[in-house]
């Protein structure tokens, strides 16, 4: 923060989509913050995308509608965009650019931090291995989230990902430690009703006091969405690495972020990549996802759960495809389960947490966790095969053991997967349901669990 201000330029050469081209500019810097002033005196924020030959291309976050070439001024502020941070941000609601949206004044800042963050030194990264309890059985039991992990949720249009996101935000906690826990929730391009739901849901559950909300609604300018995940992560990094908190960052919906990126890319007339997204989509997404992790010698951690809706439920679409390359697994929501009314409709056969093995077991969850989870995964996979077979030969053509697996599939979906939106299950309760499913199988079908655990927890036959 400096006392020197920036120069205001009034020669606007062109306004194209979300971009403003300013002429005769000297000393502008890449990423520099720009205040664009309309003829009515309204100020909009933007940043420098390109400089050279006396021109600067400015991306206006709040859109360019209503701007005219003759009556617009661009003030180059002389610094990059910064987010004021302090512990006071907890319990606050901000808009997509980090401005208060709850009718309260700006937080008294402890620091002003560049929203682009600093890349984590790979050498300094600590391998994530501590369990986060979300209270959602299917996640805790079979796709376990670990502190410092980035685990996206791949959903589809109209599915219940936002309910799940809000439930995780309300219920998530770290077990077995007294360390502070916080949730940073960034809603990117969501409907007003959804944004209100997130806010109310956190307020009414009492979880707001440990949360920070960034709400960019669908009627906010699309370009603002480029900034929303970055301000959210800036706050998360401050809480984690300066204040030593374990921070869970939920970003929903990253598809809207990628759409905004495509809009800017098209306006800049860049050569489009797959489906019109810019060729640097992977690199850009990585600048967000790679801001999750733990650092050696620092107490806190940043865990990310980005949520993205796959256009036409297409998992090979560039956004989920490139996201999957960067993140450590994925939670996939299934349309079939959703249509059956199952909540959360997680398709476990397509889901995976790559770091689960290191975050569960003795000392973190329970010694039998990994084995019972594998056994249930195997049984559910077999149940799906049997269901497909029954579709051809009919139930009468199935063997007794096939019928047992069908039952297991039904119990899995009705008792384990299905959960009320306000039901917070402990890991012990989750493991209890997993064992209930395993107990429906004859003992000789249990091949993935050690005998000592079977003797202790199996309740069948």
């Amino acid at each position: 923060m400096t006392v020197e201000g920036g120069v205001q330029y009034s020669k606007i050469a062109e306004i194209k989509g979300p971009l403003v081209v300013v002429d005769d500019v000297e000393n502008a810097a890449f990423d520099e913050l720009v205040e664009v002033e309309t003829k009515d005196g309204e100020r909009r924020l933007g940043k420098v995308l390109e400089v050279g030959n006396g021109k600067a291309i400015v991306q206006v976050f709040e859109g360019t509608s209503g701007l005219s070439i003759s009556a617009t001024n661009a003030k180059f502020v002389g610094k990059v965009m910064e987010m004021p941070v302090s512990k006071e941000v907890l319990g606050r609601v901000f808009d997509g650019l980090g401005r208060p949206k709850d009718g309260l004044p700006d937080p008294i800042a402890d620091k002003f931090i560049d929203i682009n963050g600093e890349p984590m030194n790979p050498e300094q990264r600590e391998y994530p291995k501590d369990f986060i309890q979300t209270g959602v059985s299917v996640i805790d039991g079979m796709i376990t989230l670990v502190r410092g992990q980035k685990l996206p949720i791949f959903s589809g249009s109209g599915m219940s990902h936002n309910l799940l996101a809000a439930q995780i935000a309300r219920q998530a906690s770290v077990v077995g430690t007294n360390d502070d826990f916080a949730v940073v929730f960034a809603a990117i391009g969501v409907q007003y009703s959804e944004a209100e739901y997130f806010r109310r849901s956190l307020e009414e559950s009492g979880a707001l006091k440990r949360s920070v909300l960034f709400l960019n609604t669908a009627d906010d300018p699309a370009i603002e969405r480029i900034i929303t995940p970055r301000v959210a992560l800036t706050v998360a990094e401050y809480l984690a690495f300066e204040l030593g908190m374990h921070v869970l960052v939920i970003l929903t919906d990253m598809t809207n972020y990628a759409e905004a990126l495509r809009e800017i890319s098209a306006a800049r007339e860049e050569v489009p990549g797959r489906k019109g997204y810019p060729g640097y989509l992977y690199t850009d997404l990585s600048t967000i996802y790679e801001r999750a992790g733990k650092l050696n010698g620092r107490k806190g951690s940043v865990t990310q759960v980005p949520i993205l809706s796959m256009p036409s439920d297409d998992i090979t679409h560039p956004i989920p495809d490139l996201t999957g390359y960067i993140t450590e697994g994925q939670i996939v929501l299934g349309r079939d389960l959703f249509r059956q009314g199952v909540y959360p409709p997680v398709n476990i056969l397509m889901s995976l947490s790559r770091l689960m093995k290191d975050g569960i077991g003795e000392g973190s969850t329970r010694a039998d966790h990994s084995e019972v989870s594998n056994q249930v995964y195997d049984a559910y996979s077999r149940a799906q095969e049997v269901r497909a077979l029954a579709g051809i030969v009919g139930k009468a053509g199935l063997t007794e053991i096939d019928l047992k697996y069908m039952d297991v599939g039904d119990i899995f979906e009705k008792e384990f997967l299905t959960q009320a939106t306000d039901e917070n299950r402990t890991i012990e309760e989750t493991l209890g349901v997993l064992w209930k499913i395993v107990s429906k199988l004859p003992k000789n079908e249990i091949t993935k669990i050690k005998d000592k655990y079977v003797d202790e927890y199996y309740k069948g036959e």
Binding site: M1, T2, V3, E4, G5, V7, Q8, Y9, S10, K11, D24, E26, N73, P84, S86, E88, G91, D102, L104, P105, D106, I108, A109, D110, F112, E203, E204, S205, G206, A207, L208, K209, D422, N424
Partner: protein
């Protein structure tokens, strides 16, 4: 004869009735016994079930109570914090207003001329030219005018601006403007000044 036959038939009927009654009684008694044993068994079986249900209801109730307690405490904390924030902001605003009043009414003689000179200096450096048109407020007009001679090519605008003090410098071609009024400088520093004031109230230290 007929009467004798009727008597014999009555006694055999009675004995049949007795037999049936006895059999029925035995069946009923046996059924009652079985039912008693069964109900005892059901009762015995249901005790642990009931205890389990009872424990579950208690656990669920405790969970719900914890949830409600968290909600109440969370909402109360947020409400209290919000009120504190508003109170603090009020206090900060009061301090700010008072400080701005003092700046607006500051003595325009002595060091103030040096301040204007340094503001002009800074503005010409940032704009990269001294070919500028300078605007200021009514009370600073004379001080600015007296300093402009040191900046060849500069001139004072006949229009005055509404500000606490300081200047706005505009290149003569109108392409560049630099706002170096005290208002703009205070605005840029406002977050830091707010922090400073808040720390006097014991916040954010």
């Amino acid at each position: 004869m007929g009467r004798l036959h009727a008597l014999a038939s009555n006694s055999s009927l009675e004995s049949t009735i007795d037999k049936i009654l006895k059999n029925t009684e035995a069946t009923i008694l046996s059924n009652i016994k079985t039912a008693l044993v069964d109900s005892q068994k059901v009762l015995d079986d249901s005790i642990p079930k009931l205890e389990g249900e009872y424990d579950k209801i208690i656990a669920d109730g405790k969970k719900e109570a914890d949830k409600i307690e968290k909600q109440i405490i969370g909402s109360a904390d947020i409400e209290a914090r919000n009120k504190q924030l508003m109170a603090l902001e009020d206090a900060v605003d009061k301090v700010f207003t008072k400080a701005l009043d003092q700046v607006a009414n500051a003595d325009r003689s002595g060091d103030y001329s040096n301040l204007i000179k340094s503001l002009l200096d800074e503005s010409t450096q940032i704009l990269g030219t001294s070919e500028i048109i300078v605007s200021t407020n009514t009370s600073d007009k004379d001080v600015v005018q007296s300093n402009l001679s040191q900046f060849p090519g500069s001139e004072l605008s006949s229009d005055t601006i509404d500000c606490l003090g300081g200047i706005i410098a505009k290149s003569k071609d109108g392409a560049m403007t630099f706002d170096n009024t005290l208002d703009a400088r205070i605005d840029r520093l406002k977050p830091l000044i707010r922090k400073e004031i808040a720390s006097k109230f014991g916040v954010g230290e």
